[in-house]
Symmetry: C2
Subunit: 504 residues, 2 copies
């Protein structure tokens, strides 16, 4: 694929200088347009050492309004980053809509380095590339422009470039033995990179190849390619927004098929526990869970628990019971309320990534990213495409957590309609519970069937072996509480046990 | 001071249970009030191991609406945190206004531990306590409630408590040899803690002592004390807000004294540099700075540069020149625009703390925290007290950066009124510069004298040896650019040199 950029390409200084003004005007105007119709824009500059991606990035940032650009280098991962899935730092580095994020290597750069070092076989390398591709398609489907440029040099030109730098008394400190070793490894590097570039060159986020011998040529080409891409993207966004306004493109309301029985309808709701048995069992569970928490902390095993369920199904109370005996310093409850403006300017999963707890701790989400495929669907705030791809994006998110060693459990607390009504009425009476009952609860209740259908689909699409859904009969609060704690204890024990075995 | 909590205090279970409902109602109601008149609320629970601060915290969080509570434990500092001043993590952990942040040790806990280990003499310990006190007074002056409780146990009661836990088959894993060593060190610990508690017990943020032998007593006392404090605080805030609405309490506009000459008036504005000399010097400077940047990165020496100045004084261009030869991956330009809603819900310095770059990198602030004592003062958005204490808070912030080893430099780019007018007119003509000229620029120009007086005061109050202001004559852009780069090179070389000497 590198034939097109195998020979040095040049642009003479006069021609370059003559068009600098026009380029600057164009870039600044595009930025203004981006501000008025904000979407996220990400630039990824990668390539051969010496091919000038940093200089072109410099030119770009110097020509544009710096207030709306965020440059992010990914050096060695920090301790906090190492505790999280590899994509954690990429997610957190995403620039908000209306600004331009500029990044200096491909998301699959670590895999590329490992491949070079002979540590990755084909399958593993391809899996890493697949992950990158899924990440990118989540971003572009969300309306982002992802402009990716690979700055290339042939082996001869790279040698020449390094020699030139070494000859420059102002610059020669920039080149050391490591760089010359890169020249030696050139062929292997290019072969491995080519596989990566091909695998991640998609319709929505293709790689652009730029020959990097000549500073003028590469700057002009890089800037023009980016400006073209941004302009086309803004035009496209405008057209899409117009269309979206004209005809209603929201997803059809959730509904079960004619002969379909909801997964909730099949639940055995008879489970109950006596007061005494509850008190005894809880005490034992609490102590066991506290001990497991301490072991998990020691072993660095994180847990991510998700609680969803009908209004008044007892999410709050269950979480309170679950956490009652835990060390407050090593768990956090993350209640999901309306997003902040910063969060709204990002992909919807961004705000969950940023709330993940440190290694060895428990993060409990009281409501979660599943709002996307529940309330947003039912309230008709989401279009069909976004809805459909959300399931995949969520699965990808959770599988990254699990792969990183976390215990991921999801609970749907289920009550019958009658039981819910009883609880609503009771809430209205107990003073310190009144704040819990809102008009929204009554409105949601009217949508019972739609919710049930949405839950059915959600379970079908997102209950995986690494992050299973547990449907908890919760007409009896005591039963539900013991059941949830049991399931968590079981999962945590299993993970700690398998960790121990692996270490032995 | 611990006489009041020397003997075990108890509350019988029946009395405790009887009042649980009232306490819950009260807490939830107070939270509602806090939501409607948001101010920050911070709870700090510290004390003797075994005195139950975690259990009381648990009770508090379980009784309140968890959506508006943020629990934050400070375990060992992460790598990222270790790179920054010690208070970095405390700043970043501050809960936003309207919510309650709950923390588990005193800000001076590290100093206390070191003191215990015999590593801190009186002066150093007192300095650490002074820092904590300044941090707290910045928070309380900003309208926050800081509720601090010390859970106490006498030595005998601590022994008894640990023995009790050891006897409980469900709990005994919680106690190990380390805990018993704490009992041995009890007297020293209490003596050192007492100094800390006294030094940081202030009118606005006193320490409350709670005897911790009995779970019911400590929970009831802790919750009631907090609820009382929150209620009183909310009443006080309400009264203040009412008063503030009635009479105009904003600071008087900045004005120089009758015979006072502004620090800007004394500047020699004649500096100029020929085009050729500029080009030659710049090339040398650029190479030198790039090499220094690489050394600073290696040595972990961070730089924090602040640019302020008249509109059109050339901040953007100067920053562009300064960064032209730098490695884009190791510096960031942070342009200060309007704060986000998350940022507005915090102390005004919070948003600057969170933008600090990693160790060894350069952070360039294009406008900065000085907006507080410039535009906010001139536009009359700040009251006199807030204005006056801002200088001290800013000095404290910068001195923490400097103490942590950062190079801190501040530049005021000065142009004359005539020169500014010339540049405004030119901007209106050059297409890719038009976005830079706004109505606000013209309005600011009318306030020239007020700005000049505010700058004068700012320099007087915040130019320190560790973070000096440099007033840069900038009628000649070339002169200003070279001067700024020179000053930075000089400061960076000095710091690297002194670091080298210290290491040898």
């Amino acid at each position: 694929m590198f034939e097109t950029v195998a020979t040095a390409q040049t642009l003479d200084a006069a021609a370059y200088e003559a068009s600098v003004n026009d380029r600057r005007i164009r870039l600044v105007e595009l930025q203004q347009r981006l501000r008025s119709e904000p979407c996220p824009v990400f630039i990824q500059f990668a390539g051969i050492k010496g091919a000038g991606r940093l200089q072109v990035a410099n030119t770009l940032t110097h020509w544009m309004d710096p207030r709306w650009i965020r440059v992010q280098a990914f050096r060695t991962r920090t301790e906090t980053e190492r505790e999280q899935p590899p994509y954690y730092r990429y997610w957190l580095a995403l620039a908000p809509a209306g600004t331009i994020g500029l990044y200096f290597h491909a998301w699959w750069d670590t895999a590329l380095q490992k491949r070079m070092a002979g540590l990755l076989d084909d399958d593993t390398y391809n899996a890493a590339l697949g992950r990158a591709e899924r990440f990118e398609s989540a971003l572009t489907a969300d309306g982002a422009l992802l402009f990716k440029a690979w700055f290339h040099l042939s082996k001869e030109n790279q040698k020449k470039r390094l020699a030139d730098i070494e000859d420059d008394p102002f610059q020669n400190w920039r080149v050391d033995a490591r760089d010359w070793r890169k020249v030696d490894a050139y062929d292997d590097y290019v072969a491995a990179a080519e596989i990566g570039l091909r695998a991640t060159s998609t319709l929505t986020a293709p790689w652009h190849l730029i020959e990097g011998s000549d500073p003028n040529h590469r700057a002009a080409t890089g800037v023009d390619m980016f400006a073209d891409a941004l302009e086309a993207h803004l035009d496209e966004r405008k057209a899409i927004n117009k269309k979206a306004k004209k005809k209603n493109s929201v997803a059809a309301p959730p509904k079960l098929g004619k002969n379909q029985k909801s997964v909730l309808a099949g639940l055995d709701m008879s489970g109950d526990v006596s007061k005494d048995l509850f008190a005894d069992t809880l005490k034992i569970q609490e102590a066991r869970l506290a001990a497991l928490q301490a072991q998990a902390r020691e072993a660095g095993v994180s847990s991510v628990l998700v609680f969803e369920g009908w209004d008044a199904a007892g999410k709050g109370g269950t979480i309170r019971h679950l956490t009652h005996g835990l060390d407050l310093r090593d768990y956090q409850v993350v209640p999901i309320a309306a997003p902040t403006d910063e969060e709204r300017a990002h992909h919807y999963l961004w705000r969950f990534w940023r709330r993940l707890g440190r290694a060895g701790t428990i993060t409990v989400f009281d409501r979660s990213w599943y709002g996307r495929v529940l309330v947003e669907w039912i309230e008709r705030l989401i279009d069909e495409h976004a809805l459909q791809r959300s399931y995949g994006e969520i699965n990808e998110f959770e599988s990254q957590l699990a792969e990183n060693g976390a215990v991921v459990l999801k609970f749907w607390l289920h009550v019958t309609q009658d039981e819910q009504l009883k609880r609503f009425k009771k809430r209205a009476k107990v003073a310190y519970k009144q704040w819990k009952l809102t008009d929204e609860d009554w409105r949601n209740r009217e949508q019972w069937d739609a919710y049930e259908a949405a839950v059915h689909t959600m379970v079908e699409r997102t209950s995986t072996s690494v992050a299973p859904w547990h449907l908890i009969p919760a007409n009896s609060k005591r039963y539900a509480r013991l059941r949830v704690v049991d399931l968590f204890i079981e999962a945590l024990e299993r993970r700690l046990e398998s960790d121990r075995r692996q270490r032995d």
